[in-house]
């Protein structure tokens, strides 16, 4: 009763859970334009995920699996459904998730038949795959109701149905590790547990067998996505889009959200996007007005590009940005290869490369 009254008062006064504050990009998240300076390796229709065996770079681009070697891209194979996640296996193997509903393991990227296929009925939006320490595979599933590409609806419906599964290739069994997450999107082994990006709660949680999820990094100003290991310890955390106060406000306005989802084309929703500025029908906010011909980089981001370098404890060290006036938005995957960081900017459909030498020192100074 008291809780209900308090919630009503909070809603009425805009306090407590009804506040729409978003943390600022500060400290290790201080903005720069590093991602705008990255070299474009490849432009393709719908790049989704990256994997590397150390020598070759594999790119999931729609239904096609591409490989990039010395600057030349070639198609390795294609599938009947779009690839929603990619993971290199030890010994040259490759795991792919197709359409979010099926995971296949191949002994090598061009193998005819898969070694193992997981098509659990619980799979709905498998969006990331990663290797756990014990040679099992970890899969994150964003939502039990919305498809892989329908994540904006998942956010707008306030769903909390993300799950984490352990796939054991030896026994071909699927074990749920965690559920009830706000859009699990990306994972990386960490000790005997798994770090998982929980996008809609703007945090990184540690999922370990036998214990409940523990928050590692919270209050992010962005929606975190896939993770990968950094060569010198720590992690690369991507953020596919950023939070704004307007979206936080809309998330607290059920009537408007309901009508928006029913009446408006999803491309023009007040929701985060991977790219923006392509139609005047997109929602425009006050700071977006071009003044004297210039769009301000500090305007509230409808789409944003961000990779955060985390230390071994999951705390941010520095970050690489593409701000509102930039183009390399919607960073969904980042992996280290050689001395470079290779990224996917899904907004403009680019695969980017950024040399890492000197970067850490530059931020430390």
């Amino acid at each position: 009763m008291i809780a209900a009254v308090r919630e009503f008062a909070n809603r009425f006064l805009g306090r407590g859970d009804a506040t729409i504050t978003v943390p600022s990009f500060d400290g290790a998240l201080k903005p720069n334009q590093k991602l705008e300076a990255a070299e474009t390796l490849l432009i393709c229709e719908a790049p989704e995920d990256l994997a590397t065996d150390g020598r070759n770079l594999f790119i999931a681009a729609g239904q096609r699996l591409m490989s990039l070697n010395d600057g030349t891209a070639s198609e390795v194979r294609s599938f009947e459904r779009p690839i929603s996640a990619l993971c290199a296996l030890p010994g040259g193997g490759l795991a792919v998730a197709l359409g979010g509903r099926e995971v296949r393991l191949y002994a090598n990227p061009s193998a005819e038949q898969p070694n193992a296929t997981f098509a659990d009925s619980a799979f709905n939006a498998v969006n990331a795959l990663t290797l756990a320490g014990d040679n099992t595979l970890i899969a994150t599933d964003g939502s039990a109701t919305c498809g892989v590409d329908d994540w904006a609806r998942d956010l707008m419906e306030l769903n909390r149905s993300g799950r984490v599964f352990r796939l054991d290739p030896a026994s071909k069994t699927v074990t749920p590790l965690a559920q009830g997450l706000g859009h699990a999107f990306g994972a990386c082994a960490h000790g005997n547990g798994v770090l998982v990006s929980e996008s809609w709660r703007h945090r990184l949680v540690l999922v370990a067998p036998g214990t409940s999820a523990r928050t590692v990094l919270a209050h992010l100003p962005v929606y975190p996505s896939r993770l990968s290991k950094a060569s010198s310890g720590g992690y690369w955390l991507t953020a596919f889009t950023a939070r704004t106060q307007l979206i936080e406000f809309v998330l607290r306005e059920p009537a408007y959200r309901r009508r928006m989802m029913a009446e408006i084309d999803p491309a023009y929703w007040v929701a985060p996007r991977l790219r923006s500025g392509f139609s005047f029908k997109e929602p425009m906010q006050g700071a977006h007005i071009k003044t004297m011909g210039v769009i301000k980089p500090w305007a509230p981001p409808r789409s944003y590009g961000l990779v955060i370098r985390l230390d071994a404890d999951g705390q941010p060290l520095y970050s690489l940005h593409s701000r509102v006036d930039g183009a390399n938005h919607g960073i969904v995957a980042a992996i280290e290869m050689g001395g470079d960081l290779v990224l996917i900017a899904k907004g403009p459909g680019r695969v980017l490369r950024l040399p890492l030498s000197g970067l850490a020192e530059e931020f430390r100074s």
């Binding site: 307007l246 009537a255 928006m260 006050g286 011909g293």
Partner: protein, 705 residues
């Protein structure tokens, strides 16, 4: 169904009035007055004869006596202090009057003068201690309260018998306390006279302003050269004198020096002061508030006494009221501006049907194209915020700038830029009259006239005040665009009467018809409002019949036609509605059609928000302006339409890189010149198939040599 209910609710319930009423200064007096009426009504219902003449006269006598003391206290509180010793001063001066009259047998005028002097001296003690020696008002008057009370106790021990045994029969003395003129007690009459003087003193005379200034900020008052110490000291003297006037009437009415005279009086008077709305922090208050407070307190105490409440209950009630009033006063003073700013913005229901298509391949008159991609730029980076552009008959180009200048680019190459006239406000719409005077609408200032030699004159900055508006809407806030008829009438639009120019997004958030169209007659100099309740009226253009104007409603997304003369005089017709964007300026084209700038395009998310006023109201309160959902004014286009409401042609710049925003356009000798209020350039576009000799005002009024 739900939309219908919402629309009815917002059409008939005037949300915007609450904020407008609260921002009026008289609301602070109105609230105590309403309280007084409620108390009076309640008591007259529950107590018989409450409103009988005898009862009223008795109330008026008491009100007069306490009213004088309350006036004195109000003065002291306004100057930033407090006077707790009024009860004791009241007792002492009462004793003084009766002692002089009964024991010493002085004549009445001398008694009156001496009593007033006594009050002044007692007040002067407070005044010197607080004003000159800078002691704290609270502690000082608390001490004098005790000292004066002790002195009074000592005096009555000695003289009370002498006073009580005397029965002076002096008609003039009795008249002071018990007399009446036309049924009104003398004390009430004197109070009214002094109150009227007090009102004039506080609002119209220099010392009164000094008192308010010191209460508002003592340091600023001192820095402004106001004699702070002397003024404060004199306020306490005045408080003493006013208290002694009250005591004189009291002495004359009752003629006693009982031990409890004036005990607890300070609480009654303080309650009246705070309840009337005089802020304890100083700097705010009026005579009317003091009078209303006294009446409320008296009605309550008398009502309670009549209902046989015990003295304790009576005091308890007063103290409770004082506490509540002080609390309300503090919270209100602290949050007043915040509350007003929160309730002032009142979004309303504004539904538009789905817009016509604009996408390439979907056809229709608004299909996007890239015709404007090769617009040339004039004055790139040199001019800022040219909302409107105009060319004179010698082909020179004029545009406003946000620095408050009218800039002139000289023909033929428009490279040389000079300041044609400095006005000081943001120039918006422009038009030439027959004598080549340039009329300009200036945001925040009104309608101005610039002679060909560059002299600036004000044409008008006010119109008739509308009777049904709470806000004073006679001043022009956002004159926007204009055109001149053949008879010298200037019709101009005022986009909103509720906000300033830089607050236009708030008007968009409200989406109410806050704008109007005004006519200024250049022959008589008379300004009159012609149309009201328009949704951000903007572009104005005289139509081909010379008896009507075309105007754009930016947030209404429509073009309408208003007949100011002829058989249809006074009528408004819709020319085009449900435009896919927000229309801005309208101007004549060489082929007899009209150019229209669409400053921005509609987005579905805002169209939906316009149907949900509650959503927008909460957005306005909780989300910072930079993050509000805005009308998209980053992309626009130019269209050509005719008087039948048909779009003839549209001109787009798909990426908006060359010319991001279009608020106006002007055709001149085969070119289209483009202005945009947030641009740093003027655009110039070569028109195909247009009259290479077209000059707008030459065409309308015949070429002059």
């Amino acid at each position: 169904m739900r939309d219908t209910l919402t629309s009815l609710r917002y059409r008939y319930w005037p949300d915007h009035l609450l904020g407008e009423i609260l921002s009026k200064r008289w609301t602070e007096t109105a609230i105590p007055v309403i309280l007084l009426l409620i108390v009076g009504l309640a008591l007259s219902r529950s107590i018989d004869n409450f409103l009988s003449p005898a009862s009223l006269a008795d109330t008026a006598r008491q009100a007069g006596e306490i009213g004088f003391i309350a006036l004195g206290l109000a003065l002291v509180v306004i100057v930033g202090g407090i006077d707790l010793s009024v009860g004791s001063i009241f007792a002492l001066t009462d004793f003084c009057a009766l002692y002089l009259l009964d024991v010493l047998g002085w004549p009445v005028p001398a008694v009156v003068a001496a009593t007033l002097l006594c009050g002044a001296l007692l007040g002067a003690v407070n005044g010197i201690l607080i004003g000159y020696l800078r002691l704290r008002a609270f502690i000082t008057t608390l001490i004098t309260l005790i000292i004066y009370r002790s002195a009074y106790d000592l005096l009555i021990q000695r003289y009370s018998n002498a006073i009580a045994s005397a029965f002076p029969d002096i008609p003039s003395w009795d008249f002071i306390g018990g007399g009446s003129i036309f049924g009104i007690p003398t004390v009430a009459l004197v109070y009214i006279v002094i109150a009227i003087f007090g009102h004039i003193f506080m609002t119209r005379l220099r010392p009164g302003w000094h008192i308010t200034a010191i209460g508002g900020s003592r340091r600023s008052a001192y820095n402004s050269g106001i004699p702070v110490r002397r003024t404060i000291a004199l306020c306490y003297v005045a408080s003493g004198v006013l208290t002694s006037i009250g005591a004189l009437f009291f002495a004359s009415r009752l003629g006693t020096v009982g031990g409890d005279i004036g005990v607890g009086l300070e609480v009654i008077v303080l309650t009246a002061t705070v309840l009337g709305g005089i802020t304890l922090g100083g700097g705010k208050g009026s005579v009317a508030k003091s009078a209303v407070g006294v009446l409320i307190v008296l009605l309550i105490t008398n009502g309670l006494t009549t209902m046989n409440a015990r003295g304790g209950v009576n005091r308890m009630a007063l103290a409770g009221i004082l506490l509540v009033a002080a609390m309300v006063d503090i919270r209100w003073q602290k949050n007043r501006t915040r509350i007003i700013s929160k309730v002032y913005v009142a979004p309303t229901y504004h539904a538009l049907p789905p817009p016509p298509p604009t996408e390439i391949g979907q056809g229709g008159p608004f299909e996007q194209n890239d015709k404007l991609r090769n617009v040339e730029s004039i004055g790139l980076g040199r001019i800022e915020a040219p909302e409107d552009v105009i060319l004179d008959r010698h082909d020179n180009l004029y545009a406003g700038s946000r620095h408050g200048d009218i800039m002139r680019f000289l023909a033929p190459d428009y490279q040389k830029m000079e300041v044609f006239a400095h006005i000081g406000g943001q120039p918006l719409g422009m038009a030439f009259d027959r004598e080549d005077n340039l009329y300009v609408c200036i945001g925040g200032m009104g309608l101005y006239r610039i002679k060909p030699d560059g002299t600036v004159e004000k044409a008008t900055d006010e119109t008739n005040r509308s009777m049904r508006s709470v806000n004073d809407d006679s001043r022009l806030r956002l004159a926007d665009d204009l055109d001149i008829t053949d008879d010298g009438l200037i019709f101009f639009s005022e986009a909103t009467v509720r906000y300033e120019m830089d607050e236009w997004p708030i008007d968009g958030l409200e989406a109410r018809g806050n704008g109007r169209i005004i006519c200024y007659d250049t022959k008589t100099g008379v300004t009159r409002t012609e149309l009201r309740g328009l949704k951000f009226p903007n572009g104005i253009c005289v139509a081909s019949d010379g008896q009507s104007i075309l105007f754009a409603e930016t947030f209404g997304c429509s073009i309408k036609r208003y007949y100011f003369a002829g058989p249809k005089k006074g009528k408004v017709e819709v020319v085009m509605d449900n435009l896919p964007g927000y229309p801005d300026n309208i101007n004549l084209a060489s082929d007899g059609n009209y150019w229209l700038a669409l400053v921005g395009m509609r987005s579905p998310s805002l169209d939906l928000a316009w149907k949900m006023p509650g959503f927008r109201r909460r957005m306005g309160k909780r989300v910072p302006v930079d993050e509000w959902l805005f009308p998209n004014i980053n992309t626009g286009c130019v269209v050509k339409f005719n008087e039948q409401g048909k779009i003839v042609e549209s001109f787009w710049d798909l990426r908006g890189e060359n010319h991001p925003m279009i608020t106006s356009m002007r055709e001149h000798r085969g070119y289209l010149y483009l202005g945009g209020i947030l641009n740093n350039r003027i655009g110039r576009y070569k028109l195909d198939n247009s009259d290479p000799n077209f000059v707008q005002y030459d065409k309308r009024w015949g070429k002059q040599s």
